[in-house]
Amino acid sequence: MNINKNIAVSDSGFVFNPTTGESYTVNPIGVEIIEMLKQEKSINEINQVLIGRYNADIVTIDKDVSDFINLLKLYSLIENQNAA
């Protein structure tokens, strides 16, 4: 799975895609996930990081991370999802 490396992400959750000119807001946990995707972490690795940091169960995190990644794909911020 390759996140578009050109994407600019600010600490406050502002995301800019220079290829399309579109902007997005992301909440803090979303920023963390995007940063981990940039580091080429797998979904399983991301889930493990989040479970260690937040008070939620693995089912909730797995479901929500998948949904979030699908949205990134819908917004063309992820180029493909084969590596998951």
Binding site: Y24, N27, I29, Y54, N55, A56, D67, L74
Partner: protein, 452 residues
């Protein structure tokens, strides 16, 4: 180390379209308590979903409404509109506050009698009054508001047989400048039907004309329409006095005042555009006082206000069953509250808030109910915080027309709880059980057994 509070990840596209010039705020301020009782405790004790009524709000509403009219007009009487919410506990709260009963069927009439309302303080409205209903109402000295001529002749015959003078009024429909004009109930003012009916009553020796009634519409946003209606009823009453030397005891302006709900398609929220009870009171009482009634002969003013007195006293608490993503990327959330128990979601964009605090992040969401039916949509679009499975929500302004129009469809109807003025919850209607339904079903003998 303590873990951080979890919030699901969210990404929201920034749209470059025109911002809303009214700058609507999203409704994420949580409603955690109702009259001091925690929503979480109510759901834990009574289940989810559950209707919750505030006795304190009902009493406060009816007192404010009485004050609005009584400070402007010398003789005022409220009559509780049973169809709006006929839970016994609700009706009795209104009766304790001095309201008579206003009913529109034999069933509602019996309920008012069961609640201990004197026959003479029951107003019987509506187009459906059977001969048995009329017999009962005439015998109990109740006030019958005649809807059509077939009813007039039925009353005449029954009252003659009983040798009792029936106390009657007519319902009058009229053009008050609003659309749609409700002309299906009662007798029309403009085309002379109302006078036809009044002449027949005045010439009958088994009926006494005690009042005049109108009910110009529902969820009315124009106080001026009531002013027009009050002038027209006053004109009829004064005409009766001049022609027959007969004074009517009362003018009944019906109900229809809007509540704070937002009608579907409304540009602004109901809370910003619904007139206050004071505005309706000013319009009606000014019209009556400025009419040609002699100051010492002003008739009693009866009001059958329902929705405006009970809507904001009702809450529906529920829980999130699931979050889903629709094909176009929109978020959808499934609640355990369906249109079967929230009938008013067909008319209103109900205010819905979470029952627990969240961060400032919100997401546009479609809210679905739990029914396996495509029509089961509670809100087509609402901006809500990032709700998770099991989180609770509070639907506001549901006190009117839901606990009477709800359907036993697919799921069973839930409990209704009323919080008293001391903050103590009481179950006022048990949740339905399968047995409740089986009790009224019958299976023919040849269908009792089968093999699969």
């Amino acid at each position: 180390m303590d873990k951080f509070r979890y919030e699901r990840p969210l990404i929201k596209k920034l749209e470059s379209s025109m911002p809303n010039k009214f700058g609507m705020r999203t409704e994420y301020a949580p409603k955690t308590h109702i009259d001091g009782v925690a929503v979480a405790d109510l759901i834990s004790k009574y289940g989810s979903p559950v209707f919750v009524l505030s006795e304190k709000t009902i009493r406060s509403n009816v007192r404010k409404a009485r004050k609005a009219f009584e400070t402007r007009y010398p003789k005022v009487q409220f009559a509780w509109s049973y169809k709006t919410n006929y839970m016994d506990a609700v009706c009795r709260t209104f009766h304790q506050e001095g309201s008579w009963a206003e009913v529109v069927s034999g069933f509602e009439y019996d309920k008012a009698i069961h609640n201990g309302v004197e026959g003479s303080k029951i107003i019987f409205n509506g187009p459906d009054k059977s001969d048995d209903d009329l017999h009962k109402a005439i015998s109990n000295n109740s006030i019958i508001h005649i809807d059509h001529f077939d009813e007039f002749y039925a009353i005449k015959e029954i009252a003659t047989n009983l040798n009792i003078t029936a106390k009657v009024a007519i319902r009058v429909n009229m053009d008050t400048g609003i659309y749609p004009m409700w002309d299906r109930f009662g007798f029309n003012f403009e085309n002379g039907q109302a006078w036809d009916a009044l002449n027949k009553i005045m010439r009958s020796d088994v009926m006494e004309l005690v009042g005049l009634h109108t009910h110009i519409g529902t969820f009315m946003l124009s106080p001026n329409a009531y002013s027009v209606a009050a002038y027209k009823l006053a004109e009829l009453a004064i005409g009766v006095r001049e022609k027959y030397n007969h004074e009517v005891n009362y003018i009944d302006m019906g109900g229809g005042f809007a509540s704070n709900n937002t009608l579907k398609g409304g540009y602004l929220p109901g809370v910003d555009i619904s007139p206050s009870i004071n505005e309706f009171a000013e319009a009606i009482t000014s019209a009556l006082i400025n009419s040609n009634f002699r100051p010492d002969k002003l008739p009693l003013l009866i009001l059958e206000t329902g929705r405006a007195l009970v809507d904001d006293a009702g809450f529906l608490l529920g829980s999130v069953l699931s979050n889903k993503r629709l094909s176009d990327g929109r978020r959808s959330t499934i609640l355990d509250i369906g249109v079967n128990i929230l009938f008013t979601s067909f008319w209103y964009d109900h205010k819905i808030t979470p029952a627990q605090p969240f961060t400032q992040y919100t997401e546009e969401t479609v809210l679905y109910g739990p029914l396996c039916m495509n029509i089961d949509v509670i809100r087509e679009q609402i901006s809500l915080p990032l709700l998770n499975k099991g989180d609770h929500v509070v639907i506001h302004n549901v006190g009117a027309y839901n606990m009477t129009q709800w359907m036993q469809f697919i799921t069973l109807r839930p409990k209704i709880v009323m919080i008293d003025i001391d903050g103590k919850p009481h179950v006022i209607r048990e949740g339905e059980s399968l047995q409740n339904l089986l009790d009224v079903e019958k299976v023919p003998e040849h269908l009792e057994k089968f093999e699969l």
